[in-house]
Amino acid sequence: MAALFNSLFGGSKPSASPIPAGDSDFADFAGAPDPSPTPLAAVPTVASFTGAGAVPTGSSAVPFTKWYNIHERHSLSDFKQEGVILGILLVIIAIHLYGTSSNRKRAKAWITAHAPILQNEFALVGFGGRKVPTEEESEGLSKTLATDSLQLPVDLLKEKSPQEFSTYATGRLNVAFLDVNLTLLKRYSPLTLAFEYGASLFFDSIPAPVERVEAILYPFDGRESLTVPGQLPGAHELRKDNKSSYDGFVWAIVNKETMKQLRGERYDVSITSTKDHPKLPNWATIMSESSEITEFLLTPELIKAVESAGELLDHIIITDQPIDQPSKLDETIPKKRLYLSMRLPSSGDYTNLLPIFQYFLRLTDTLVQSAHFRPEVLRKVRTTRDDAIRRLQKADDEEKAEEIKLEREKVKKQKRDAELKGLNAKSQKKYLEKEKEKEMKRAQKKQTQRG
């Protein structure tokens, strides 16, 4: 390392110092002749950069030191280290560029496949702001997507990091907004990738890196008026018919490979019970709170979509419960969301995944229309939530009782101190003795009681 620094910062051993070591005065310096450039003739005709053979310049009257002549002090072989470093750097940069560009290509392929569906369903897709959709424009969009440039359609897909892309959509009946996140492999950093794979083999808690797309859909659930400001056109109509609410429950189709992990990680699915369904392919299972809900939600269309997606589907979850176990009461307030998680096919062919994505986007319509169950079904669902709330309430109450107790003791002590302060020395002593006696009596009483 030291050698490296030496060579990096121009060598700490000048072959000849222009100023003699003892530079206590300027006499030596003044005595020296001007370091005027050597006559042209004395300079070697070809500046041999590698040349070790310095042309003797002693013949000229000008004292010539090596200090001025860089090609005599250094040769190319001095820079081996730098060469190696530069080479490695180039390789790293090349890998990085290749990795990021291939990730971008994959993300683009995804949005190209899914943008038409999103644009059919939502008024606003991506981050470009609202535009009036015209026939021409949507055509133009597909044209820009069709070109083979690496340029991401920035309006549609945002690159959060070289391996994370996200898009956003809003403006649809019954849906507040939709978040889609693409997670790709760290192609730009093969070492990290290899390390992650290795770690996933040894530790169960570290999942193997996979490419997946996760979509979270937030339904309005009857609260359109909160999202749409009052002055906007259409707000009035929204307020009029607040019918986009549906019953809260947790229901999921889960790939069996991930179900153990999922139940451990997510609170909402861990309050359901897992049951295989004969109509589903054998790699998938249902997590539901009630069989009636399952019968209602498991439409033939959905089964077909699940079958076409195949084992790339991780899960599709309809939930109203938090992901993390609630630890406070206000965390139990139901927030309805829909989750879809799929692994990306390595081939980049998304035709099989489109049906489930479309079904997922339209699922809220079905829910709003008819996810209103009989009270018997809902009672079962509600019991689980009430139990959780009660548990938290109890813990909360206990905490409060503790607080009150502490407060009371504090007040008591304050009172005693105040009393003690007001007395003179003699009565203070008396007071303390009395207190001691009282305490002793109490202790004695306790002891006798115990005995």
Partner: protein, 191 residues
């Protein structure tokens, strides 16, 4: 059939006597023993890999539910596990690989760092034997039916420490599964 623990003990005692006779100071013999150890580990890996292959080929997606009982003395509630036979088998195989790697690592330290040679002999026989006695290998390689002792989830082998560690066998009756399943244990931030 004698329990594997007893046969293991017999082999250990026997091999300790045998290893006294073998001139391990002789570099040629030593290399032979080393080669034997490597060969034994290669066989184990091959057996495991083949079993893993069979498991993946079968891909039995039958749902497997059981309740993992907490360790004795811990206040944790029983933990419901929902998985598939395939996933369970793969997890078991993973733990077998891990155990083998650990064994090789330990042996490497003992042999290379501390220069012990005696364990090489025993360590090339015992793991090989237990590899063939493993539940997964029995089921998939030897085609034994997964009933009785081989019923998943496997019971922990009754060993020296198991009585101390406690941990009842995983429960599989319907009642305890249902009770534990709806408890909503997921997503808690424990660590």
């Amino acid at each position: 059939m004698v329990s594997p623990q007893i046969t293991n003990l017999v082999i250990i005692l026997g091999m300790m006597q045998v290893s006294k006779k073998i001139p391990l100071d002789d570099p040629n013999t030593l290399n032979l023993v080393r080669a034997g150890y490597l060969l034994s580990n290669l066989i184990i890996i091959a057996v495991y890999a083949y079993t893993h292959l069979i498991i993946n080929k079968k891909k039995d997606m039958t749902t497997l539910k059981y309740v993992e009982q907490p360790q004795m003395g811990s206040t944790e509630e029983p933990k419901p596990i929902t998985t598939t036979v395939h996933k369970y088998d793969v997890d078991q195989m993973k733990s077998l690989y891990k155990a083998q790697l650990m064994g090789i690592g330990m042996m490497g330290v003992m042999h290379i760092y501390f220069k012990y040679t005696n364990p090489l002999l025993i360590q090339s026989i015992i793991p090989l034997k237990s590899a063939f006695e493993g539940n997964e290998v029995k089921i998939h390689l030897f085609g034994k039916a997964a009933v009785g002792e081989l019923r998943r989830p496997f019971k922990a082998a009754a060993g020296f420490m198991s009585a101390l560690q406690g941990g009842a066998a995983p429960a599989q009756d319907k009642k305890s599964i249902e009770a534990a399943e709806k408890a909503g244990r997921g997503g808690s931030k424990e660590e």
